[in-house]
Amino acid sequence: LELAIQAAIVGISLGFLYGLVGLSLTVVYNSTKVINFAFGDFFMLGALLTGYFVSVWNFFLVPSLIVIYILLVLLSIVVYRVVIGPLLKSGGIQSALLSTLVLGLLIGNVAGLLTRNAPIHVEPFVNMAAIALGPARIQPQYFFLVGSALLFILAYWYFLHKTRWGIAFRAIGLDPEAGKIVGIRTVPMITLSFAVGGFVAAFGGSIFAPVSTPLATMGIPLTINGFVAAVIGGLDHPFGAIVGGLIVGLTSSFLTAYTTSMIAEISTFAILIVILVLRPQGIFPEKE
């Protein structure tokens, strides 16, 4: 039972991580119809930078987080303006997708060279004794992480549904042409979507840094798991990704606990195949 509770807690937090990756993918997908495969590596950067700022260079937590968030948002916008935007105009979807994938590999490998592929141990943000939950002892960082992820999702929902920018943002996703006609400017909206995606990545990466021992090579599995989460939820539902993430996270954490990590990693692919065969549009009913 102890193992099961541990696995459940780890699975839920992994689930939120994958869900946030999926969320960042759907945000950009909605405005451009392109999946930015580099976002997994943005999460990696978020986690890695948090590790360096907080545990290696010993900066204060909150200012370093703000700096990291700003850095990644800017990087994401630069990626759109320099790499993906021009390709969307000229080369079509094949080139744009390929360039995001390659960009992710580039980021991951440069980070790997700079850090010599060494994992970093990051101190938890909340310094408290482990909490007993039944027979298992859980680090409070997990609760902090799930709580802040939930808060973040609520804030994002508020942004999408209750603010002018959010509504314009959803309109562009539904029908870019009609959006243009009613006077929504597309390019700023796409830029905004990249900024939001970069921010989600920085936020998600940073809150997971203490429980994940950031490593430069973790970008690819993050992208894959996040994409599977987004596909399970359906790419048109931004919050479906969170549910999808929980499914992927729980499956892989229970498989890791009871079998080997190889089987757990392959299970993600198996889930992807099953979902694609049974319900390629995601598990939620389609919007009208």
């Binding site: 997908y29 119809k33 392109v34 999946i35 495969f37 790499v83 021009p86 390709l87 000229s90 080369g91 979807i93 094949q94 080139s95 997708l97 390929l98 360039s99 994938l101 390659v102 960009l103 590999l105 580039l106 490998n109 440069v110 790997g112 060279l113 690819i220 599995p221 992208t223 894959i224 994409f227 599977v228 596909v231 190889m262 990693e265 392959i266 993600t268 692919f269 992807l272 195949i273 694609l276 065969v277 390629p280």
Partner: protein, 327 residues
């Protein structure tokens, strides 16, 4: 005056570029290579380049001509290499059957199974599905120590024919060359036949193609399987040449390399794939001392190519000579 001169030079170059004679000369150079350069190391490099051309040719018919987003070609390279090595070393089959039959067949079979879910997808779904498959394949090859030797790799016996060690002489080189020429002929025939027009129709407008009575799914599946079989063949030949097989041959770095060959040579050009396979295929040899920078270098070249030369070397050449570029 000068303009006229370049114009004249261009016409001559155009003739050279499009004539069959230049193709024959190129083939002659490839045939004579082991006789002119007896050095074993250079022959090894030449084989690597030919293998690059085979995998790029195979990859191109699906990615380039049919316009599908397969981002995991290396999976089939790995399947070809390992299936060939495994039937040879564990089951004791002759290497010739392993390399020429089992390797492409295994890749074809796996791709046939994979095509059931993968081909239901378009764009990003197919992109990540194929990429994730390549990544899983790499994990399996690396971690299934009992079967593949894991990260330490596994040895492959030197191929022998009539008592000759082909790795020592030029036998393996000629065999690879023969396979490359056959693959080129198959690809060339494929794209210039009515199947090529069907592939173009699928690439430009899938619904339109279906409305014209083209069996879109059937074509995609057939091309995907054929494409994977060719990449598998290259993998099988590689296992014979390398003598030692590690999961690195199926790594993400190799994946990027095959994609880079295709983009550098020029999408939708078979000749381009030979050029790309040769130019990019030699990169791992040149970068042997900088292995850790390899992926960074490949990615940077690939992004620059995509952004500024999307039609590759052949595209630049053709445009410069005033020939049409296939869109």
């Amino acid at each position: 005056m000068e303009e006229q001169n370049t114009g004249q030079a261009n016409t001559i170059l155009k003739k050279v570029f499009t004539s069959n004679t230049s193709l024959a000369v190129f083939l002659f150079v490839l045939l004579a290579w082991p006789l002119v350069v007896p050095n074993l190391y250079y022959r090894h490099v030449a084989i690597i380049m030919l293998l690059g051309a085979i995998s790029a040719l195979g990859f191109n018919i699906f990615f380039g001509y049919t316009g599908q987003v397969n981002f995991g070609p290396i999976a089939f390279y790995g399947i070809g290499a390992y299936s060939c090595a495994l039937v040879e070393m564990r089951l004791g089959m002759p290497w010739l059957i392993g390399a020429l039959l089992i390797a492409p067949l295994a890749a074809a079979l796996v791709s046939l199974l994979l095509s059931i879910p993968i081909l239901r997808l378009r764009g990003h779904g197919m992109a990540l599905g194929t990429f994730a498959f390549a990544y899983m394949m790499y994990l399996i090859l690396e971690r299934w120590t009992g079967l593949t030797g894991g990260g330490d790799g596994m040895p492959v016996r030197a191929p022998e024919l009539f008592g000759y060690n082909l790795r020592q002489g030029s036998g393996l080189y000629y065999m690879t060359l023969l396979c490359a020429v056959l693959c080129f002929i198959i690809c060339h025939w494929l794209v210039s036949s009515r199947h090529g027009r069907a592939m173009k129709a699928i690439r430009t407008d899938e619904i339109g193609a279906a409305a014209m009575g083209i069996n879109v799914m059937g074509y995609k599946r057939a091309i995907y399987v054929l494409s994977s079989a060719m990449i598998g063949l290259a993998g099988g030949l590689l296992s014979q040449q390398a003598g030692w097989l590690g999961p690195d041959y199926a790594s993400i770095s190799g994946n990027i390399l095959i994609i880079l060959m295709l983009i550098t040579g020029g999408r939708r050009s078979n000749a381009g794939q030979v050029v790309g396979g040769f130019f990019i295929g030699i990169l791992p040899v040149l970068l042997a001392d900088f292995v850790e920078y390899a992926v960074v270098i490949y990615s940077v070249i690939l992004m620059i190519m995509l952004r500024f030369l999307p039609d590759g070397i052949i595209g630049v050449l053709r445009r410069w000579l005033g020939l049409p570029v296939v869109k």
